[in-house]
């Protein structure tokens, strides 16, 4: 982290300071009475964060000190001293909250916080009892009120949310923490809020692992039904606030809905309107996410939606390779087109469009689409006439109309997959080989698209470097200057020499 930045010289000094810090803390703890001044010095150190002292070290030391103090019940022991210590303790918490938002320190700070919470739950400070809910509240408030989305802190907090007690606490608290204003007025806050909601995973795997952050919390076990109710209420408030939000927030709401909420909703049918609106008003990622939601509804609630294929069809356009939800789109399309009872001309339109797009797409997507086309041909055997025309006819120009938005009317069924033949000439061997499937008999089993969806251009580059064949074939004609002996282009169009 920060250490890497400082030079070797500073490094030694740092370690020296660290040792000093530790010995100081030890002496403080070993003393009969707590030396308020030294303790204050530590807190001050965290406040000032001097240059030679990384904040994380100070935080760790403070963690050790306060853990011990909490265990000793020192905070309540001596009236006057206890109060002082408590004051300092609260101050430390405030400082920790500050650090939580600093990107480099957030993981350390969060760790210290959670450790302190653990100890405090065991040895609660006098008036409060049990779980220190207010601490969590503090953390959540800090996160929500941050000026920019604190991504690292959020991911770290997400790890703690895997513990059922933390999960429950957060759910409880979030309801009261919902910002009063509408989301469209406070986009950053809303974003932070939604990101926190996005951390609440009530999936089966989390429930079955049943981890608890605090040992004692195990006694009152996690009640799914109750929490589900809480989540439902939370969702209702979100829906109430989330009108006319901007695209980013809308996307986030949809992501939260799809990833975390939809499976636990009492009455998902109510979502239909929301999803339909999202689908029709937006295109690109939002529409895609909405489509996924609709798909879930179709699966679970048996709703019918007439134009879903047309929508899906129109989501395939060249720009889509460059958005984040590309893999999701392929995944969805694969599922939507699984049925073998779809009309052939519809699927043919998809096949043609995919093939057409493969001619414009980056390498990794071209491979996916070729495989996808092959899968579709396998599923719908009638479509094999796209590559095996039965009657030999004259030369024609492609009857497929790519500008037609209705896939059924695109006349793809009368076309042929010339795109795949062209792709056999692709410069990347992987694509060319994939496109060769039309030459021989089709494979028996469908290709598994899942491993392909996560591939990047870099992976293909690395794969190519690892290929074993190391035959460095050279040009046999000696270039005398920048130009190639024949077929030079660079020197033809550039005035370089």
């Amino acid at each position: 982290m920060k250490r890497l930045a400082v030079s070797v010289d500073g490094d030694t000094r740092e370690s020296l300071a660290k040792k000093q810090l530790q010995s100081k803390a030890n002496s403080l703890l070993n003393a009969q009475n707590v030396d308020i001044k030294t303790l204050k010095g530590f807190v001050q150190l965290l406040k000032d964060t001097p240059h030679n002292m990384p904040a994380s070290e100070v935080m760790n030391t403070l963690e050790v000190i306060f853990k011990n103090l909490l265990k000793r019940k020192a905070i309540e022991a001596n009236e006057k001293q206890g109060l002082k210590i408590q004051e300092l303790y609260e101050e430390t918490w405030l400082l920790l909250m500050e650090n939580l938002l600093a990107d480099s320190e957030s993981s350390g700070a969060l760790k210290v916080c959670m450790q302190l919470i653990k100890v405090e739950a065991k040895h609660p400070i006098a008036p409060k009892k049990g779980w220190p809910i207010h601490r969590i509240r503090g953390i959540l408030e800090t996160l929500i009120n941050a000026d920019a989305t604190p991504t690292t802190a959020l991911t770290n907090y997400g790890k703690y949310c895997k513990n059922l007690d933390v999960l429950e606490m957060t759910l409880k608290l979030l309801k009261s923490l919902v910002p009063c204003e509408d989301f469209k007025d406070i986009p950053i806050k809303a974003m932070n809020f939604l990101s926190i909601v996005n951390l609440l995973d009530m999936g089966k795997s989390v429930l079955s692992t049943a981890d608890y952050h605090v040992e004692s919390a195990k006694n009152q076990s996690f009640n799914y039904e109750e929490n589900r109710k809480r989540l439902n209420e939370l969702w209702l408030t979100i829906m109430a606030k989330g009108n006319e939000v901007d695209e980013r927030l809308h996307r986030q709401i949809l992501v939260v809905l799809l990833e975390r909420v939809i499976n636990h909703l009492d009455d998902p049918i109510q979502l239909t309107d929301f999803l339909m609106d999202s689908l029709h008003q937006f295109d690109g990622p939002i529409a895609l996410l909405a489509l996924q939601g609709i798909f879930t509804l179709m699966q679970k609630q048996n709703i019918t939606y007439p134009d879903v294929y047309e929508k899906l069809y129109n989501m395939f356009y060249p720009r889509m390779f460059y958005n984040k939800y590309k893999a999701r789109l392929f995944y969805l399309a694969d599922i939507f087109l699984t049925s073998t009872h779809l009309p052939e001309n519809l699927v043919a339109a998809f096949v043609k469009r995919l093939a057409r797009l493969a001619l414009q797409s980056p390498t990794e997507d071209a491979v996916i689409m070729i495989r996808f086309v092959c899968n579709l041909l396998l599923r719908h055997t009638g479509l094999q006439k796209l590559i095996r025309a039965s009657h030999a006819s004259d030369e024609v120009s492609d009857p497929y109309n790519e500008t037609e938005t209705d896939p059924v009317k695109s006349d793809a069924i009368n076309s042929s997959l010339w795109e795949i033949t062209l792709l056999q000439k692709h410069v990347v061997p992987e694509v060319a080989n994939a496109a060769r499937f039309i030459n021989s008999s089709l494979p028996v089993i469908e290709f598994d698209l899942a491993p392909l969806l996560d591939r990047k251009e870099c992976n293909i580059f690395d794969d190519e470097l690892q290929s074993k064949a190391k035959q460095f074939a050279l040009n046999y004609e000696r270039p005398t200057n920048l130009a190639l002996p024949k077929n030079e282009f660079v020197t033809k169009y550039w005035d370089l020499i």
Partner: protein, 859 residues
């Protein structure tokens, strides 16, 4: 032919045919003995042959016993018995035996060859030596002394007087003067008496004899001496042949001519200087081989198989009708075959391409010719300058590469360029390999661009791996230094320097090539490492263009490697990298636009031979045209990222309506474009113009592929939107050309995809299978084992019968012998008895006569 002959036969007339028929009949009806006589003259008597009559002729049965010669076989059997049984019978009851122990005792007559006789003789001799010469029993040298007339050859040698051989018998006769004087009366005036004269003569004769003898002795001594000396001299004069010792007459004209003719070469020498024509031929063959290899690599593994399988069927059945049923696919292949045009240039290109390049080729040819002449001139010049060492070096390097005339030609071209540089004597001729990169840059920084190349060349020459083993590492080091140097010079080049750097790169290109040839694997790995590193840098932020030196490395790859391969360890990663850059990096400035265009040109070079498809190139060119179209704010023209659909970046290259650039001259893209950020109107025109040309080139490359229309169509919509009014004339022209080509391609018609027609499967032809069925009613059916046994029993029975017969015949033979013996002895006895009787009767007769005579006397 046959028919006509038949006709003539018919026409010969009835008689002839009747004769033929008759002849046939006679042959058929002739008895079998005729046949046997006709076959060979050895079988003399037809009555010796016995014919076994066959009741039924059975097809396929070989009959061995149809005829036999009882007389002959009986005689054979008899003879055999006589030799075996007869012999045994003869020695029956006899105790002594005759034993033949000679070598080859079983051989007879002709078989007794010389070698056998020699062996016998030797064995005999040895046994003699062993048995007789007991005295030499202990002689270790086993050799025999050879003798001649009782004397050993050694003794004879010792006493041999060589003089005796050539001792001429002196004529004892009196000489002519004396006879003339003494005989026949002689001169009358001889005062001395005869006796005195004779005495005198005798004395004279003796004196003369003594003299001669003395002389001879002397001569003998001398020869002895000479001989002794000669033996010493012998090794010295051994080589001198006899006729060489003779003094030779001075050669005349004829001799000279003869000698010349003798020494004139009669056959061609193996490695003579090859004349230019052959050189060209060799080079063409070499190029053809390399080109074929390249084509093979260019095809994908599967593609090749498919093409091959279509071209010729893998299997031809024996009853293939050979009716050319297979689809003729040769037309396609014709495109790829190698061909040379009239000038002998390699014309591996497809027809369309040839047309394309026709203009350029002509120009190039002309240029080349001109240059050749210039080269010759320059060569002559360099010849005249004898002390120009660098030229000598050049020629050395030329001779190294003699096998490639083309290369040497180019080399000559290069030498012409470098002459001014190499004339510079400030550069030492041997340059040590710098130890560190700093030393290397220091060395180069002292000199101008042109000299830098010379320095590199000399370093390579001095550190050629053939000279020393260490140099193998040195050249790799040099290569990495050069790469580093390129990086340093291009990394932050400014507007002024950039052209110079490109010039340096151009000069260095042949050296890069040479270095790579020295050790392809290590050099390639070095380059690959560098590219990998660059890719790592690029990955960190793929929205930013890769650095300029990366593009330069790509250009280097294009020049050094065979980029047309289907899969290549260096080229394929480069392809992926370049595509990645083109499809992801943002295009916002002049530098980024020109870098993209540079990448596009490099990629086109990569695929110029393989004609493969690189989608990113088409996307990028569309993007450039898209940027040149001025758009109103609301309207959106679809375009693939990284280009913006709308906003200011979407019309970066569009000329403002009020601006007029119609007067700009056609211009290539400038190196300075690669380093400047601000977009000027002339750059806008330049970029669009080049893109239009590149669109044409790129589409021409993929023109033959099925589905090229899909690549052309998107351009159609963009090109039609381009407002041309404010552009200069040449842009109009290029736009028109590009549009024409795009329209042509977009209207491409294709055949529906269908798998290649397969040969209908022929029905399998089965061989008829025959099984022997034995259902003879006379014999009961048996199992196989039983049948086998029955067969064996039958055989045994027959063999037994035969054996019994043989034994019976043997007994008969022996009985006959016995009978003969008995008869013979009886006869002998009978004769003896008869003789005794005869003698007795004669005796009796004599007695009777004596008795009668006594009686008479009595009476």
């Amino acid at each position: 032919m046959r028919k006509t002959r038949y006709k003539t036969m018919v026409a010969k007339g009835k008689k002839a045919s009747a004769d033929a028929v008759y002849a046939k009949k006679t042959i058929k009806s002739a008895n079998p003995f005729d046949n046997s006589t006709a076959q060979s003259s050895k079988r003399g008597n037809p009555f010796d042959v016995h014919v076994n009559k066959e009741k039924f002729k059975i097809l396929g049965r070989i009959c061995k016993h149809d005829r036999g010669m009882p007389g002959v076989s009986r005689a054979k059997a008899l003879q055999k018995r006589a030799q075996t049984l007869g012999q045994q019978f003869a020695v029956k009851h006899k105790t002594n035996r005759f034993k033949d122990n000679r070598i080859g005792k079983h051989l007879s007559g002709d078989q007794l060859t010389e070698s056998v006789m020699n062996a016998r003789y030797l064995a005999e001799k040895m046994s003699q030596v062993r048995s007789n010469q007991k005295a030499e029993k202990f002689n270790l040298n086993d050799d025999e002394l050879l003798t001649h007339r009782g004397q050993t050859l050694e003794e004879i040698e010792q006493y041999r007087d060589e003089r005796s051989d050539d001792e001429e018998l002196d004529d004892e006769a009196l000489d002519a003067d004396f006879t003339a004087a003494a005989h026949f009366g002689g001169e009358g005036d001889s005062a001395q008496d005869r006796q005195a004269a004779i005495d005198e003569m005798i004395v004279e004769q003796k004196r003369r004899k003594n003299e001669i003898a003395k002389e001879k002795d002397e001569v003998y001594d001398l020869t002895e001496k000479l001989d002794a000396n000669y033996k010493h001299l012998l090794p010295l004069v051994a080589k001198a042949t006899k006729d060489e010792q003779d003094p030779k007459p001075p050669p005349d004209a004829y001799d000279k001519l003869l000698k010349e003719m003798i020494f004139e070469p009669r056959g061609s020498v193996a490695d003579k200087l090859i004349n230019p024509d052959e050189l060209v031929k060799q080079e063409a063959a070499r190029l053809e081989k390399l080109e074929n290899e390249r084509l093979r690599r260019m095809r994908a593994d599967g593609e090749e198989d498919e093409e091959a399988s279509i071209a010729k069927p893998k299997h031809r059945s024996a009853d293939d009708l050979d009716d050319g049923y297979f689809l003729a696919v040769e037309d396609d292949e014709g495109d790829d075959t190698l061909a040379y045009d009239l000038d002998g240039n390699l014309g591996t290109h497809l027809n369309g391409k040839k047309e394309l390049k026709a203009e350029g080729n002509e120009n190039e040819d002309n240029d080349e010719e001109g240059e050749e002449e210039e080269n010759e001139d320059s060569d002559q010049e360099s010849d005249s300058e004898v002390d120009n060492l660098s030229d000598l070096k050049e020629s050395d390097s030329e001779s190294e590469q003699e096998e490639a005339p083309k290369a040497s030609k180019k080399k000559a071209k290069k030498s012409e360029n470098t002459i001014p540089a190499s004339l510079d004597t400030s550069i030492p001729f041997t340059i040590k390999m710098p130890k560190t990169y700093d030393d290397f840059t220091e060395l180069l920084s002292k000199h101008a661009t042109a000299q830098k190349a010379t320095i590199i060349e000399r370093i390579i020459k001095c550190n050629h791996p053939k000279l020393e083993g260490v140099n193998r590492d040195n050249v790799v080091k040099l290569y990495s230094f050069l790469l580093q140097y390129l990086k340093d010079s291009f990394e932050d080049a400014n507007e002024q320097e950039i052209r110079e750097h490109f010039q340096l790169l151009s000069k260095l290109m042949p050296h890069f090539y040479e270095l790579t040839q020295l050790n392809p694997e290590r050099m390639s790995n070095t380059l690959l490492e560098v590219i990998k590193e660059k890719n790592g840098e690029f990955r960190k932020n793929h929205k930013m263009y890769a650095s300029l030196e990366t593009l330069v490395y790509f250009k280097l790859v294009a020049n050094l490697y065979s980029t047309s391969d289907f899969r290549h360890p260096v080229v394929t990663p480069c392809f992926i990298f370049m595509q990645h850059v083109l499809s992801r990096s943002r295009v916002r400035t002049r530098q980024e636009i020109s870098m993209g265009l540079f990448l596009v040109t490099v990629i086109l070079e990569f695929v110029s031979q393989s004609k493969r498809l690189v989608p990113a190139v088409f996307n990028f060119l569309q993007g450039i045209v898209h940027m040149s179209i001025p758009k109103r704010d609301v309207e959106q023209l679809e375009i693939t990222p990284p280009f913006e659909r709308d906003g200011p970046l979407s019309k970066l290259l569009a000329l403002p309506a009020n601006q007029e650039c119609t007067k700009l001259k056609p211009q290539q893209l400038q190196p300075s474009d690669l380093v400047t950020q601000t977009i000027t109107p002339d750059f806008k025109v330049r970029a669009l113009d080049t893109s239009l040309l590149l669109i044409k080139e790129a589409l021409q490359l993929v023109e033959e592929h099925v589905g090229a229309c899909y690549l052309a169509k998107p351009f159609l919509r963009l090109l039609s939107r381009l407002p041309l009014e404010s552009y200069p004339e040449h842009v109009h022209l290029h736009h028109k050309e590009a549009t024409e080509l795009v329209e042509k391609l977009a209207a491409q018609k294709m055949k529906l995809l269908a798998p290649a027609a397969k040969k209908p499967k022929a029905l399998r032809l089965l061989e008829p299978r025959f099984e022997p069925v034995y259902d003879d009613k006379r014999r009961p059916k048996m199992s196989k084992a039983k049948e086998e046994r029955a067969k064996l029993l039958h055989k045994i029975k027959r063999e037994k019968k035969g054996a019994i017969r043989e034994i019976r015949r043997d007994t008969a033979f022996v009985q006959e012998l016995k009978l003969k013996q008995t008869l013979k002895s009886d006869k002998e006895r009978h004769e003896k008895v008869k003789r005794i009787y005869q003698e007795a009767s004669v005796q009796q007769g004599e007695l009777n006569e004596l008795a009668r005579a006594k009686k008479k006397k009595k009476f």
